[in-house]
């Protein structure tokens, strides 16, 4: 269990203040614009930064008290960070063997081969997709109970993204007790993977919902200017004025289907929710 309660981190030009919970066996997504606070939150969970207030508890411990043994529970892929780029996969294998008794060399090599990653080429000469795949395979190499993946698909083409997401699904399939925290600014990556999603903006959690609820109950209500005035807004979370109409985000689309037959009610994808919640839409 990972629990953050009003966790604060103050930088000169940015303040983080988040509360969230990640129960065991769940896949939790953290979505938000670039610079919203996703990486800072992940770094706080891993104990890589010092916090300025609030509480943080990871497996019953404050991350600043983590021992090396505690860290073995995590498999981590940070965006744009990894082993020195002059090394090769063969070097990485030797290093991981030195770090983890549970390092599964055979499985690691099979995964690398399946993704056509060259063993003797310097990592700096890998494509972005290959580097991302290596980061994720490395995180999965020692049977960690929690995967923490920061933007594992950023900058990848659709095929490479699919490969990375499939690797994560396969990893979860091997043991249902495994948890994942994954951050991304690409909503479609999280829709098919996460049990619940936290939306973060400007250092604050602005929405937390189960993915099923987000995709099942949330919707877009499109109405004309006149209808918008008389619209019951108790389930409207955000709205945006278009040229001749309003697009409203609701958490109860069925209510508007039943009570406003003239309104166009559509399913909302996470991208729509992000655009309306983070794009400056006002209620």
């Amino acid at each position: 269990m990972i629990r953050l309660n009003n966790l604060r981190k103050d930088y000169k030009d940015f303040k983080l203040d988040v509360s969230m919970e990640v129960p065991d066996g769940r896949v939790t997504g953290l979505i938000g614009k670039n610079g919203a606070g996703k990486t800072t939150t992940i770094k706080a969970i891993l104990g890589l930064i010092k916090t300025d207030g609030g509480e943080i508890e990871v497996f019953g411990k404050n991350p600043k008290d983590f021992t090396g043994e505690d860290k073995k529970q995590f498999g981590v892929a940070l965006s744009d960070a990894g082993f020195p780029m002059i090394l090769t996969i063969r070097d990485v294998i030797s290093i991981l063997k030195g770090f983890y008794e549970d390092f599964d060399e055979k499985d690691f090599m099979e995964k690398c081969k399946a993704q056509s990653l060259p063993f003797d080429k310097a990592i700096k000469d890998f494509s972005s997709g290959m580097k991302a795949k290596l980061r994720v395979i490395t995180a999965m190499s020692h049977k960690a109970s929690v995967l923490i993946l920061d933007e594992p698909t950023a900058g990848l083409d659709v095929l490479a993204r699919n490969d990375v997401l499939q690797m994560i699904r396969d990893y979860l399939g091997e043991d249902p007790d495994r948890s994942v925290i994954i951050s991304s600014h690409i909503s479609s990556d999280l829709e098919g993977l996460c049990d619940d999603i936290y939306m973060i903006d400007n250092g604050k959690i602005i929405l937390h919902e189960d993915t099923d609820v987000l995709l099942g109950n949330y919707g877009l209500v499109k109405v004309g200017e006149e209808e918008y005035g008389s619209l019951d807004k108790k389930y409207i979370l955000a709205s945006q004025k278009d040229s001749y109409s309003y697009t409203c985000l609701t958490s109860e689309k069925q209510f508007y289907v039943e009570n406003y037959p003239k309104a166009v009610v559509e399913n909302a994808h996470i991208d729509d929710i992000i655009v309306l919640m983070l794009g400056g839409g006002n209620k």
Binding site: L48, I49, K50, T67, A81, P84, M85, L87, K97, Y100
Partner: protein
């Protein structure tokens, strides 16, 4: 710890072309120049390679990633010192062997114990240099640390010039003959000098290690 040492060793090994080049240059130098030069030259190369591993660790946010591995920041500092001490000792030992091979091949007459004494006095100098360089590299980024080291060298030179001037002034003012005192130091047995030098070295490296551990513990990644 084992993982960190393996990583550093692998970083050095990747630079094998450079190592081979240094090896041949060392062999040539050991034959062409004063045989004592190689004993200073090769550990200097070792020192540069050891410091380069910190730069590689820092590059592309690599240090943050390393801290997600099963090590604490203090462990990283300890591993770096272990690697540095082993690395410097091995490069020094290699240079000493090369020096003696050159003596034999060139049939140069030499006084074994005396050469050994000279060689043993060189190694602590490198330990002292690394004791300054490692905490500076930990504290500052790769670029900044070069500036800091440059400034530190300047300060040391200034202190030496000022010290020399101060000793001259004190000597003439109070009638103390520092040159005679310095000459008197030559009467101390080399073994005593080496013992004192290594004892100072252990103290300095230990203080440096403690500083480095604290720097790493305070650092954010």
């Amino acid at each position: 710890m084992k993982g960190l040492l393996t990583k550093d060793f692998r970083i050095i090994l990747v630079q094998k072309k450079l190592l081979i080049l240094y090896f041949f240059v060392s062999v040539m130098l050991s034959f062409a120049m004063d045989s004592g030069f190689i004993v200073s030259y090769f550990p200097m190369i070792g020192l540069m390679l050891i410091i380069s591993t910190i730069s590689y660790d820092n590059h592309d946010n690599g240090m943050g990633f390393l801290m997600t591995m099963p090590v604490r920041p203090g462990d990283y500092a300890v591993a770096k010192y272990i690697f540095a001490v082993i690395g410097l000792f091995l490069t020094w030992a290699f240079a000493v062997v090369l020096q003696f091979i050159s003596f034999f091949i060139q049939k140069t007459p030499f006084n074994g114990p005396e050469v050994f004494m000279d060689d043993f006095m060189i190694l602590p100098v490198f330990f002292l240099i690394i004791s300054i360089m490692i905490p500076v590299e930990f504290k500052f980024s790769s670029e900044k640390s070069k500036i800091v080291l440059f400034v530190l060298c300047g300060i040391v030179i200034l202190i030496m010039i000022a010290g020399k001037g101060a000793l001259g002034y004190i000597g003439s003012r109070f009638g103390i003959n520092f040159e005679a005192m310095a000459a008197g130091l030559n009467t101390i047995s080399p073994i005593t000098v080496i013992f004192v030098l290594y004892a100072v070295c252990v103290v300095v490296v230990s203080i440096s290690l403690i500083c480095s551990i604290r720097i790493m513990q305070k650092k954010e990644f």
